[in-house]
Symmetry: C2
Subunit: 410 residues, 2 copies
């Protein structure tokens, strides 16, 4: 009933960054992303054509002591009095906002809506950000044990190593790939390959690294939560991203190349890791993938490229298995063999991923879709995947309490 | 396209209270409301028939340092792996969750969904609650001026007094009416009429009050923000409320008396009062009312009873005017004359309103609808409005940055 009824006619975002937006509030970043988005509409549009907003944000209550962004944003965009709703499902928030926009249009209530996400993380210190993000975990049963987000994903990685013989070297290859992809993406937070960072750090510290792995295994890449080192972790980022959705019928007025939302799978899973039988998979993501493919009438082999939730490198390894791109236990090996690179059989995180593109939490989902939009329209420049027709996004809230998989077609 | 396509087949809530739920976390209150809701379905149901959740919460990040309730709630309700989304539009949050549920079903994606709201406010001290709720105001331009929520509504009341000659005595009559209605509602926080409270307070303090107004004008009813006194303000409350929605077709399997959602008006307004031309009205609410009536094909005179957002007594006075029940400037007089009482021409807040039923912020919207559901089905006991066929809810986020008006029919 919903598949292909709604299309994306515009996509925009700020660059994701840790210092670039330091003087901007979240609302100002959102305006920047919105302006970029309106400018991307092929045949132009009047922003007053937008009938409703779905704004994703995770915890601006903690970052800026600002809730009720649903009111603030349309006010600042000059879009009053249209309806506006704030959506939150932890890291999956803006993928869920996209889903709400699709349902709202498919219901017949609206023809055109704006969806997007924003996060102003640098308003807090690093330790405070870790504290704020832990609010996405169970505050009664999980957080009090002293675990942090990197620690939880480190446990998932270790369980995978033990069960399947995967290795930290494989995880490092994911980080190297994502940094390479980000070096080709002007919207990415880090636009340097790991080898170039190694050279810079080496010069600064008077050290000489033989190659990337020599650098990544050195103290210059310190442990965050064993076995995860700094380069296994997505950074703290500020940013905003937006999409304009229209009914399939209306979309043709604005562009000859709309991107259709063909499949949506949104599921919930146990919030805490201690309630999972197996830490090497995220059951909610497996189920979300199945639901998305069922709606889109596709299979994993039909997907030309995918953006997956690599908040930490084990997450990407597990995602590529959960999504059926590789057999269980072989995701790390596949990455190491280059099968997920730009020239691989299934390019993963062509935009640099959360690892190198950045991860302003609630802005991530629609930013993943921003990359799919670029790729399916053939506008991804040096990171373009040839003849990409079908793309997938995989977004996970926290450690898998929420999972959203979405499939897009040209 | 959406009107009357979706019906309510069950409604449930906890009692709203300031101490009753002191040992329960938000999730436990939600389970209680859900159990009440499932039990209210006439022909019974299997909770596994629910396909999606829309959970409203305003700032549990600040109350319990808990975000990602969208994952926690289905986990605790035994509803994994169904999709779940957290919705926030300040005080209007669960009215918006109800709207999302309606759109989701109308889109054809689901046949049956659960919507609801929860808030655990007593997790903080009173001064901290005021601080937490101020996050719903603009943190750059309004909050730094030192205003609090009561102060903002006090300004709106004063502007109304000045422009229309309304009075604090009229506001007091709203408080007295709502306490009376709450005295007939077993789910209400306060189940005492003001006169009974006056007697109790009198005995305790060795004072004698001639009547309700003598009490309300005494120091026993202290100023909070001039001209608002304690009894002009809704209390701090814990609570949860839920509704089960089904497609109109499916609803008949579960009940012979579904309540249809006929009209929805959801709008945004300027977040800050300083951006309004006139403080005596909430433009977003006026527009939301128009939109809801347009969809439901009704007029104000068709409404048999209404639940309006009386976070502070001026809010109810203004709401009854904004909704077109009374001419601009005459809302206070109408209340004083009893025209909004249980036996009046348009009964307002038959459940006691936010003032006396309680106001656990995000639980309020679906609790308003809970009362409409009871009334339209003839199950409101001593507060029953005879032959009620069409009911309206009016919910406002903060001072009018969001407004949601919804119309329900038997």
């Amino acid at each position: 009933m919903v598949s292909d009824k709604v299309a994306i006619i515009g996509a925009g975002m700020t660059r994701f960054h840790h210092s670039l937006h330091i003087d901007k509030s979240a609302r100002e970043m959102f305006i920047e992303a919105f302006t970029d988005c309106v400018g991307s509409v092929d045949k132009g549009m009047n922003h007053k054509d937008i009938e409703a907003l779905f704004i994703a944000n995770t915890v601006s209550e903690l970052f800026e002591h600002q809730s009720h962004l649903s009111s603030l944003i349309p006010d600042w965009l000059g879009l009053l009095p249209i309806p506006s709703t704030r959506i939150e499902t932890a890291c999956a928030s803006s993928s869920t906002a996209l889903e709400m926009g699709v349902l709202a249009i498919a219901s017949g209530m609206y023809d055109m809506v704006l969806v997007g996400g924003l996060e102003k993380m640098t308003a807090l210190r690093t330790d405070e950000v870790t504290w704020a993000l832990m609010s996405g975990m169970d505050q009664v049963y999980e957080s009090p044990q002293g675990v942090s987000n990197p620690a939880l994903y480190a446990m998932m990685g270790m369980a995978h190593f033990k069960k399947y013989g995967s290795s930290w070297d494989q995880l490092a290859s994911i980080s190297i790939k994502n940094h390479y992809n980000a070096s080709l993406n002007p919207k990415a937070q880090y636009q340097s390959e790991v080898i170039d960072i190694a050279k810079k750090v080496g010069q600064k510290k008077g050290l000489s690294f033989k190659n990337e792995m020599d650098f990544l295994k050195s103290d210059a890449n310190p442990y965050v939560a064993y076995p995860l080192r700094l380069f296994d972790c997505s950074p703290i980022s500020d940013g905003a991203s937006t999409l304009i959705l229209a009914s399939a019928k209306k979309a043709k007025e604005f562009t000859d190349t709309p991107i259709y939302i063909s499949g949506i799978g949104h599921t919930s899973g146990t919030m805490s890791l201690h309630d999972r039988e197996d830490l090497t998979t995220i059951p909610a993501a497996v189920e979300a993938g199945k639901r998305a493919h069922k709606m889109a009438v596709t299979k994993p082999k039909d997907i030309d490229l995918a953006m997956v939730h690599d908040c930490f490198t084990p997450a990407e390894m597990i995602a590529t298995e959960d999504l059926g791109f590789f057999k269980k236990g072989e995701g790390g090996k596949a990455a190491e063999e280059g099968r997920t690179s730009l020239k691989g059989e299934i390019p993963i995180n062509t935009d640099g991923g959360l690892k190198a593109k950045g991860h302003p939490i609630a802005a991530t989902g629609t930013a993943m879709t921003h990359e799919i939009w670029k790729q399916l329209r053939g506008e991804a420049d040096k990171r373009q995947i040839q003849n990409a027709e079908t793309g997938l996004t995989h977004n996970v809230g926290a450690t898998g309490g929420t999972a959203v998989v979405q499939i897009f077609k040209r």
